[in-house]
Every structure is written in C-alpha cells, then in structure tokens.
Symmetry: C2
Subunit: 769 residues, 2 copies
C-alpha cells in the first residue's frame, strides 16, 4: 500500500505521490531529534521543528525560530532564539495523556510532504487500560501568511467515549539548547501571558539583551466530523510562563473529533504592536479557515516548485534526496527581508547560533541566484546592510576597509567567540575569527556571481561595488611586504581547511584576496566609464584616491598567490609536512586517516579536513588550465578526509570538471544524503545548508555542466551519470526564465516553451547578457 493510502481520505487527498514524501515509518524515540530537524517546516518568517504536537515526549527539542530574532544573554554569541512553543496541544482522557509515548503507538506513520510543505501523521494509541485512540494530523507553516502556522488533529476514540480534555498551550519556558545544560540559555523574558478574545492564548516576550518584543498567539477550534460543535467548556489559565486554554470536548465511540490550532508570531522588527498584529492575523486566519489557508499555502508551494524542481529520470533515490535539499533550502529564507540571511543549519536547528557563514555565498547563494534571484538579492543585500559593522570589524582588528565576520547574526558583529567550550566543559581558544579571513572574499565573490547570473547591475552599482572596494581595501591592509622576496604576503591565516591553523600564504586565501582586489578595480573602472558622476561620488564617500587605487593594484600584482600551474602548495611549508595518502575507507566510503598520522595534530600531517586548492580551482575555473586543475584535484583528493560537510560537493564538482569523475557520484551521494541519512550523526542540530546548496550545484553545475563561460555567457558541458536518463530544471538567466533539459544526447534550453538553442555534442550555449 502506498504511504498516501495509509491516511484517512481527508489527508490522503492532499498528499503527494510517495516519491515526494519523507517517511518515518516506525516510532523510535532515539530518532526523535533527527526527525524533528528533517520535519522542520519553514515559512519564510519562521521555522518550527517537527516535534509531536501532543507532547509528553521525553526526547524532544521543540523549537520555533523567527528570522532576525537573536539574543546573546549568557551565551557565547548572539543566538537565533528559541521562541515560545505554540505547537503544543495536549490531548487527555480522564487525565491520561494520549500521545506517541503514552501507551503503545500502533501503525505509526509520519510523512513530510515536500511537494505541498506539510507534515502528516497517523497512529493508534493503545493505553494501558486498553483504550484505543486513532490520531491523525496535518501541520503546516503558511507560506501564504508566513507568520502563521496551523495544524489539525483528527482524534477518534475507537473503543470508548466520553470527555476528551485538551490543553491549548503556548509554552514560554523554552530555552536554547534545552537538553544541553552546559549550553542552555534563556534568551527571552516573558512579559505577558494572557487570554485572547474571544478565545485563545497569548504570550508576550522580549529578548533579554535588546528588548526586542515579540508576540505569540494561538487559537484552537474543535468540531465533530459533521462540523457540529463539540466544545463543552473552555477556560484560559496562566501557569507562570505557560499560557493554557483548557477545553472539554464531547466525543462518541468511533466518531472523529477535529481540532484545529492556528498560531501567529509577530515581532517588533515588523510591527510596533505585536499583540495587535497577532490578534489581527489570527482573526483573518480564522476568517479564511484552515482549509482556505492550506489551499493558499499549497498554491504557494506550487509556485515555488514550478521554479525550483529538478526532475531526474532514472534515479529515484537521488531525485528524492535532491528534492529534500531543495525543499528545505527554498523554504528557509525570508522572501522580502534583506535584514536576514540563512544560517548554517538553515532555520531548522540552533547549532551555530543561526549564523550566516561563507556557506551562504559559496554554497547556498548559487541556488537562489539561478532559481530565486529575488531571494539572492536579499542575501547579498544583507551583507551590504552590515557593511558598516564589517568596517568596524576591520578597525577592531587593526585593518582598514571592511572585514566581514566569520559568523554573522543580526547586527553584523563578529559572533564567532574567541573562547569556546567543548561538550566536556574544557575551554579552548578559538582562532577562527582571528585567522579565517576568506569569508570576506567570499562575500565579494557571491556578489559577482549574483551580478553575473542575474545581470542586476543596479545592485552592484548601488551596493555591491561599495562592498567590493571596502573588502579590497581590507585585503590590501591585511598584507605584509616581504622585502627579501619583493612580494606581498598574507601571514597567519587559516584557509577553509581548518586543520592547518594558522599558516602563511594560504593559496586559497591569497588568490581570492587578489581576485577581490582585481575585481573591485575592474568593476570600478567599468563603472567610472559608465557612470562617471556616481563613481566620483562613491570614491569621495569612501575617500578613495587614485593613489590608493594604484597602491591596491601594486598590492594585488605583488601578492604572492601561489603558482598558476603545476602542483599548488596549500600554504607555505605544506609540501614539507610528513606525507601519506589515504588508502582505507570506512563502511560508508568515508576516507580514514592514514595509520601513520593517528594521534598526530593537524599541523603535523598533510591530511586535510577539506581541500583549499580544490575549492579555489572550483571557484576560479578560468585561472588554471585543465591539466593544473586535474593534477591538483588528484593530489589533494588523496589527502582529504572530508570532515566538513562542505567538502564532498566541491570534490564532486571539480572532479567532474577535470574528468576524474570516478567518485563524483559518491561525493554527490555524501552531500545529498547528509541529513536524509543523518550520515554525520548531527541532523538533530538542524540541517546542513551548505551541503544542500552544494548538492544543487553538483546536479546543475556539475553533472548538468551548467556554468558561465569566459565570455560571461551561459554554458553547458553535461556529464550525466549513466543511470540518469534525463534531468530537467528551471533557472532564471538574467531575468529570463529558462527550462533546461539535459540528456545523454545533449542539452535543450527553452524559454516559454521555445527552444533557444540545442546542440547534440553537449555544448549548448545561450549568449550572455
């Protein structure tokens, strides 16, 4: 029987084909936290983890994260705050809870419908006294009204009847890191716990540091299967920081009770009176009704998928995983809010504080740039809006220009702590913020990519260029002149490979710094020609003189940025480290540390966490000839353990480019399944944004060979795996939506149904701009 057909008709008629579902087919409490991440729903305004609405579950991390709501308090850094839990609705019979852990859960099945963006669940709870209750539910966070969430629960007492008791709860006792006492922090203060009119609960909160107010409201409607009233009584009561509406409902044996809970979360970021806005939105939601809202929500996902879906024929498992990654990635960002970005764990968990890393620009942004350019614009604008903080950050560190923080939250301050704490309580000095400067080049790189693909010169002229210039200025100030060698160097720096920290002249960092300056100068020159007045105003604003620009030129030219041919040394002295290559892999195909090095420190061995040079070549394909790229890929791949989830996708991509693609599909699998299979064991903490974005890149920019040619035009050089008979997806190339179809025979690119260009030799091209 299909998954869909195991649900009641009401839910089954909404569910997509099984290929669109992610299923939890057996209740195993040890897997709860991972499923809570996998089943997190995100509306663009907030993310709500897939915990069980009925509650009374022991291992659970219910959470509702709201874009832009950060707080530090006692934490090491500003963290995306866990806000009051509105997704709770206790169900009891004679004080005995009914839930997945109360009695036996029989015929358990929970699915995420990625096509329509909702969670559905069914099981029969068998209590110790033999009472059996069928529970079915459906939950969504409305993409039509993204501050609203809702769920419906069908309760059927199968072999008993009587009064079912409900608790409509908003629980404001939540903290971040609830199950990790060492890291547990309370970020919100509860300012109000009250009843809504005519019914429902409300909790007012404010962040402890900045006092940002937010409001959470929730209402519950109950009816019988025929729509008849089933509420006997309803009563609001506050319990400290828990708002609770107690509701009595009549039930009859084998008749279904339908509960609908609707909730709304508003913050002072958008509304001066969160309570009034919550009330208004809940009233409007009640007006539209659950089904009305759900239809609008599904229609919104129709629109999203119409743009974002990638159809892979011949590989159901990869098709499924790819959609999983796309689903969560596209659901996460705020469509209209450039003040927020995408966290390393998306909005699906609180690990890494909900912070934005270089992951955004180099892993996640390409997807949005090609598929949702409006969101991509927000993501790059976010960096522009925080440019002043990046300037401050440069000055604080003794540099000039703008240095973007390694970890960025709402303020743009550096959120990466200098000292950090291990799970066992030991502290260590964390040098990432001190040494890992390449994020600043990534910000510039992301803007160029964005501009190249979208053709959004307006962004570059008014925002991007200023960032390019200030980051270039940073890099210039970051260099040291080596008299002896008459060259500039970047000393004491860490590249993406954090196992060698810090090093001198990291090839990745140096070359991207150089690129950053070169590109800034080039763009400025072009801009000066095109918009001389505006350019002059900008230079004046930045106090940018001809002399300084010449000095930049000199620095860029004389910066030692590694060889352009042959084997490139990852950093000064890397080739002198004790060497050994990987010869063993674990059962999952993960490379194992050569025996020689076990127990050694990172700096004492050649083995990499992730490969800087491979990444560099992936980013600057036209800088290195294919032979060089191939040689370096081959060399470094044998020395890379892929202990970062960012690593496999890049190895897939460069491997495909250089034709060393024997592991490309395996790398894709590692990237695509990182959360679906929880293969890093940390899915409980949220989903991996970078590997989701990397997975998309592997399929489109890797196997389908899409890319930007030397001349700036769109190019394809596909290398489909044998088992893929066809790949089909949509992009927006400089404002024009295109449908791309890739087969082993070649590539078709269509716009509004008209093929633009078709080449059987696998080299399709759409001319640039």
């Amino acid at each position: 029987m299909s998954l869909r057909d195991q649900f009641c008709p009401d839910i089954a008629r909404l569910l997509a084909d099984d290929c669109w579902l992610v299923a939890e087919e057996r209740y195993d409490s040890t897997q709860n936290l991972a499923y809570e991440s996998l089943f997190t729903l995100a509306s663009g305004a907030m993310g709500n983890r897939g915990s069980h609405e009925e509650g009374f579950v022991k291992k659970t991390l219910p959470a509702n994260y709201v874009h832009g709501v950060f707080d530090r308090s006692e934490a090491f850094m500003r963290e995306l705050c866990n806000t009051p839990d509105w997704a709770k609705l206790h169900i009891l019979f004679e004080c005995e809870p009914i839930g997945v852990e109360d009695g036996e859960p029989l015929d358990y099945l929970r699915v995420l419908d990625m096509r329509h963006g909702f969670l559905a669940k069914r099981y029969v709870s068998r209590a110790a006294d033999g009472r059996e209750t069928r529970i079915e539910s459906l939950k969504f966070l409305s993409r039509a009204h993204p501050r609203c969430g809702a769920f419906r629960i069908y309760i059927t007492p199968l072999n008993y009847e009587g009064v079912i008791e409900l608790e409509n709860i908003i629980d404001a006792t939540v903290t971040n890191f609830m199950d990790m006492p060492r890291f547990k922090v309370r970020h919100l203060e509860t300012t109000e716990v009250s009843a809504l009119m005519p019914d429902g609960c409300y909790v007012g909160s404010k962040t402890r540091d900045f006092g940002l107010r937010l409001g959470t409201g929730a209402r519950v409607q109950v009816r019988g299967a025929q729509g008849e009233c089933r509420v006997k009584s309803r009563r609001f009561r506050p319990f400290g920081e828990v708002a609770c509406e107690f509701i009595d409902c009549d039930t009859a044996r084998n008749e279904t009770l339908i509960l609908e809970k609707t909730a709304c979360v508003c913050t002072e970021r958008d509304f001066s009176d969160p309570r009034a806005q919550v009330t208004l939105e809940l009233n409007e939601l009640t007006e539209r009704g659950f089904d009305g809202e759900l239809s609008a929500h599904i229609a919104a996902y129709d629109t999203l998928w119409a743009m974002a879906d990638i159809q892979i024929d011949g590989d159901a498992a990869m098709q499924h995983a790819l959609r999983f990654n796309i689903f969560h990635l596209m659901s996460t960002p705020a469509p209209n809010d450039p003040r927020t970005n995408i966290g390393a764990k998306m909005i699906h968990g609180e690990e890494y504080g909900g912070h934005t890393y270089w992951d955004t620009e180099l892993f996640v942004l390409p997807f949005f740039t090609y598929v949702f350019p409006g969101i991509a614009r927000n993501l790059v604008t976010y960096r522009y809006l925080l440019l002043d903080k990046a300037r401050e950050n440069a000055v604080k560190n003794g540099y000039r220009g703008a240095k973007y923080p390694w970890e960025s939250a709402d303020t743009g301050d550096e959120e990466c702590p200098a000292w950090t704490v291990c799970p066992d309580g030991s502290c260590y000095r964390c040098y990432v913020a001190d040494y890992e400067h390449h994020v600043t080049a990534a910000v510039s790189y992301g803007m160029r990519q964005y501009a190249n693909v979208t053709g959004d010169d307006g962004f570059m002229d008014t925002m991007g260029l200023e960032v390019l210039l200030e980051t270039a200025r940073f890099w210039v100030s970051r260099m040291t002149y080596n008299q002896e060698k008459d060259r500039y160097e970047i000393l004491q720096v860490t590249g993406p490979d954090e196992w060698h920290e810090p090093v001198d002249n990291n090839a990745y960092t140096n070359r991207l710094a150089q690129w950053n300056i070169e590109y800034a100068l080039a763009y400025l020159a072009e801009y000066r020609t095109r918009e001389p007045d505006a350019c002059q105003r900008l230079c004046k604003k930045l106090a940018l003189t001809k002399d300084e620009l010449q000095d930049w030129q000199l620095h860029a030219q004389k910066l030692y940025a590694g060889a352009r041919q042959g084997l490139i040394e990852q950093f000064d002295g890397y080739f002198d480290l004790p060497d050994a290559v990987i010869t063993e892999w674990d059962d999952n195909g993960m490379p194992l540390m050569p025996a020689l090095f076990r127990g050694k420190r990172g700096i004492e061995r050649c083995i990499l966490k992730q490969a800087d040079v491979v990444m560099l070549m992936y980013l600057l394909p036209h800088d290195y000839d294919m032979e060089t790229q191939s040689a370096n890929f081959n060399y470094y791949e044998q020395r890379t353990l892929h202990r970062s989830s960012l690593s496999p996708s890049i190895h897939c991509l460069l491997g495909l480019r250089v034709g060393d693609d024997k592991r490309a599909y395996a790398y894709l699998e590692r990237s695509a399944y990182v959360d679906v299979h929880n293969n890093q064991g940390n899915t409980r903490e949220g989903l991996h944004a970078a590997s989701a974005g990397g997975t998309w890149q592997c399929v489109t920019l890797g196997f389908c060979g899409m890319g930007i040619g030397h001349d700036g035009g769109l190019e394809f050089s596909p290398k489909l795996p044998d088992c893929w008979s066809r790949v089909r997806f949509r992009i927006v190339w400089r404002g024009t939506p295109l449908t791309v179809t890739v087969t082993h025979a070649g590539v078709t690119v269509q716009t509004d149904g008209e093929p633009v260009c078709y080449r059987v030799d696998g080299q399709a091209m759409v001319s640039g701009g």
Copy 2:
C-alpha cells in the same frame, strides 16, 4: 540478603533492620505516584514527596508542601500550595541524563527507613551506549531543623570516566494538580530567581491571593570518596522560573562522586525576611555538615519513636503497617505551630486541599492526645484560634454561636465548595458544607478527649470552654421546635453517612449536638464553682445570660436524639427504606452492594457508606448499654459498605467492644493497609490520615482495650488477636508517661520502670488525674 545489605556500607550502616523498611523492589513507572506518597518525608514544617531526585521521569508529581501556605486563586478552595521543587539534581554525562528512566535501571531498590526517617535508593543505570553508573542516595527532611531538607547521591561511573554534569535546580514552575489539567492551578508567583552567595540557588515566591512570601534555597556540595574536591566549575543561571546551578565534576572510572544537596524553605509566616533566613539556615546547615545534620535528625526520630512505637509480637505484617501509619502520622504536624493542623491526606499529597476535617478530632487526635500531648494541644488550639471565623460562619448560615467549617485551611473559612467538578468536567452541587454540621460537635468532643487524657484544664479554661459554649449556642440555634411532638429537632442535616443527604433528625448529629450542649453546661458549671470571677468574665465576653443558659438546657432536654435503647434509627424514616443486608463480599473482603439496590440512588436504599449509629456508640460508650450497642452494631454492620476509609476502624473498635469481633481483625487490616497496599487505589493523592489514626485506635483502644472509664480513669479490657503474643506501647496519662504491656494474660502499666498496677483478669486500672 537483607534489604540493608544491598546498600553500600555508608548507607547500610545507617539503615534499620528490614522490619522497619518499606521497600520498592522493582521500578515500575505506573507505581511512581503511589510510591511518591508512601515515601513522602515530613519534617513538621513541610512535606516533600518521594519523587526521584535525578528527575527526567515521566509519571511524577514532585511536591513540597509547607504547613500553613495556602492559596485559592482559580481553585475551588484554598489549597495547600505546591511550593518550588528543591529536590531536583539532574545528573548528566555528555548531555545524556542519568536516572531511573534513562536506559535500564538494574538492581533497583528504594526503601523508606521508618525508624530513622530517611529514604535510601540504589540502582545501576545502564545507558544505551553501555555506560553503567551506580546511583545510591539518601534523603531526609531534618526533624532537627525542620525547614531544611537534604539528600546525598553517590555516583559511580562503573565502566567509564569523564566529566559528570550536574544541575542543581529549584523549579518554581510547579502547580497544584500538575497532571490533571482540569484542576491544575498555579498558586505562587515567582518574585526572584537568583544565586546565593557563595554558591547555590534561591527562588522567592509569594502566594497569589494573599501575597504571603516564601523563600526556597538550595546548595550542592560535591566531593570524591576521599573528600577531595571534584568540582571543576560552577555557574548559576536563571531560566525563567527555574533557578539552576550548573556544576562540572571530574570523575574517574569506578570512583564514587558524592553529591550533597541541602535546601531550606522559609515563609513570611515565621520570618519577615525569608531570603535572609534561608541563607542563614543554609549556612548553619553547611557548618553542621550533612552527617551532623543527619545524626541530629536520627536522634529526633529516636525520641519520637521512644514515645510512639507500638511493638506487636507475633504479627510482623501488622507491626510493619502500624509503624508505617504511626511514622507518617507523627511526622506530619508542626510541633510548635497551633496555626496549622493535619490534612485529610496529611502533608503527603494535595487531594482535599490539605484541609482539616472532623478526621482530626475523631480519628487523628486520640493518637496525639495519648502519645504527643503537646501536638494534641496545638491541634485543639488551632480550632480555638479560628473560633472567630466559626462565629462568622454561623452568622453567614443564619445561626448563632460558632459553626466550624466542614473543611478548614489557614483562615478558618469554609473551604468546602458549594459546587464541585467531577473528573469528566460535569459540575454538581455539593451540599456537604450546607448540611454536614457534625464537625462542630467533633471539635468539642476532641477538646473533651484532649482534656480528659491530658488533664490540661488550663487549655479548657482559657480556650476550650469558649469553644464549647459557642458551639453549644450554634446547636441551640440550629434546632427547630416541633409543636406537635413538643420537641426540638434538627432538620435537613447530613451525618457521617453521606449517602443519605440531607435527612431529618440524624441520630448521630442530634445526639452529639445534645452532648455538646450538655458538656458545655456541665463544664461551665464546674468552672463557675472553681473560677467564679474568670467565669463571669467569660460569660460577659460571650454575652451569655442565665436565661440563655436555661434555654440551652431546655433545648438539650427536649432535643429528639434518638432512642437510648433498642435499635436506633439513623434518621427519620430510615427504617422505612427498602431493606436488604449484605450477603456478598469481593475478593478483598469488601462488602458488595446487594443486587436489589444496584443502580439506585443512596436515598432509595438502606445501605450505608459508613454507619452513623456505630460511630455514635463508639464515641459515647457510656450512653448506651452493651446490649443496645451490640444490637445496633449487628444491624448496621450488615448494611454498611465501608466506602469511606474512616469506616473500618470504627467497626473494628465497636465490634471489639460489643464482643462481635469476628471481623475486627479484618477491619484493622483494611484500615492499616489502606495505603501500604493502596487498597483504595488513591494513595497517589496522599496518605489517609483518618485511617492512620483509626489504625492506632484499633490497636490501643480496641485490641488493647484502653479507654476512659465512667469515673474518668484509665481502663483496659484487652482482646488481643490470637496471633499477638504481646503488645507494648507508651502513652502519657495526665502528664505521666506510662508504658503499657498487654498480653493474653493481662495488662501491665509501668511508670519509669515501676509497675503501677497489674491485674490478671484483664481489668487494669490507673486511677484518674
């Protein structure tokens, strides 16, 4: 192996012989709530339920009740408040909790040492990853410093080592009726969550209605088995209403870590600055040390048991149950606080709101009167202190004098609600407070008993007499004159048997009302002779004229109070009800409703919940000849279902008196085992004070035949069960401690080792006061 020998030497050396232990030999979460009641510890200032200190338990009702801390808020009545939970100490390893429900609990054993008043526990927690941790613990509420509680936990990581994480918690999110959403009420507001100096947690609270402030503080000390420091770091953090001190401890494989948590709860009832007092007491407690405090605590129980123990030779099970009842009963009341009393569920649960009923005077008070006359004085003084409220209560109901409330909390207001709610949410009109007036006579009766046994005329003269007079005045105002029969009557009243509600001329109520007036007049007459001036002052205070007293006399004489011989009708018309006797008993020996009556309302059948006439005769033994008592016992016993836990003990007692003792031992068992065997299924809600006191009465006043003779002297007419070879106990008779030894051969009564009197015919007598 004995229970004791299953513990580590540190605990084993403290534990009493197994016969003093109540054991939970297997962890079964469905039994948690019952064991929490059985294992409640009470210090005289507070009661703390036997929940697991390590927490993370699903079915649990942790609670700390403090004498005199009541609040109503949204409840139907003022309730004894659940105060912040200080008895929590989370233990984790790498964020994984260690507790009875985390992994498998192996070799689980928990015992209540009744001899020494502490709880001890041991088990090995085996985690999913194979880690095994031995947990042993010992908890007590100090009788030496009754506002303080403490527990020690021995943690031994058996097959691993590393950093153990602790959370020293005071959780102020507690409510009453935590697991019953319909009845759940928050009684306290949290006013402060802060750190103590130099370490520890503090929570300030106040009751929501009256704003009574209380403070709860707790500190944790950690050391290795050799006393060495094991704390790596310590940090306080507030989480809303949860105070939490996070502590890192170093452990080594198979080495024991010793945690000691000490706590203190002070209220504004006793201290103007609860926080200062909590700090002071915790500092002093730290000074004395855990072992010092424990020794003082055990010494206090030595003293208590020296007075209260009853040794029954030949009946180990009954010996055990009797001690269980005595242990909890004597542990409950505040030794020095006449503003508080004993709740129907002692201080072991929140059912019945912690309220005082007639259970105090007629069931519980005899134990204290004979064994701890100082506490008995508090219990009767409590009623005197609330006399003004009883006066108000009379006026409110249209009467004169003083009418004691059916349920009494701190204020003395009637706390029994007019409307009450069933578990299924339906409401019903509760007439108990309207009709069940006999509690007012019980208050007077208790005072007489107290005075007779203790010879405390001072109490009677300064407090008791005023109560006697005002209650007499109430009864007079409560009567109606029946012209036709030229008699006074009490109409629309409910006796102890609540299945017939309301009735006219309830024999129990009428006769006790009459007795109340008679006794008040007699005492007044005697007092007038002895203390004419004081008597006159009292009469003036009460505006009591000779005319009114004559009127009382007339009312008492002319009150219809049932026959004095023959079969006494429980109320007007009782003998006209359809009749049937009990012919069937269930497997537990509980009588079953005759088939004829099943489905009928109480008022439509002769069957009783508990027997009023039997109770009446038990209370006034000299009013009815033995033949009458016997005939009535025989008649009513056949019609009583004992659906109140108050019923069996009285039937044991009267049965023994009238020589119809074939069921006496079975009644004793029913009374003695009500909680130990949870035979009413409601032990989760607290322990049954009345049956505990009734059990004591059965043994001493029943089987050992102790009583007050017609002349006011102490009498014995023992009827030991065959299997009891000897019973030995201590009482205080009018200030003189006596040791009573009862065997089948007769009774010995000794004072300070000297036999006072010895009779082989079973009729021993000590002449009165």
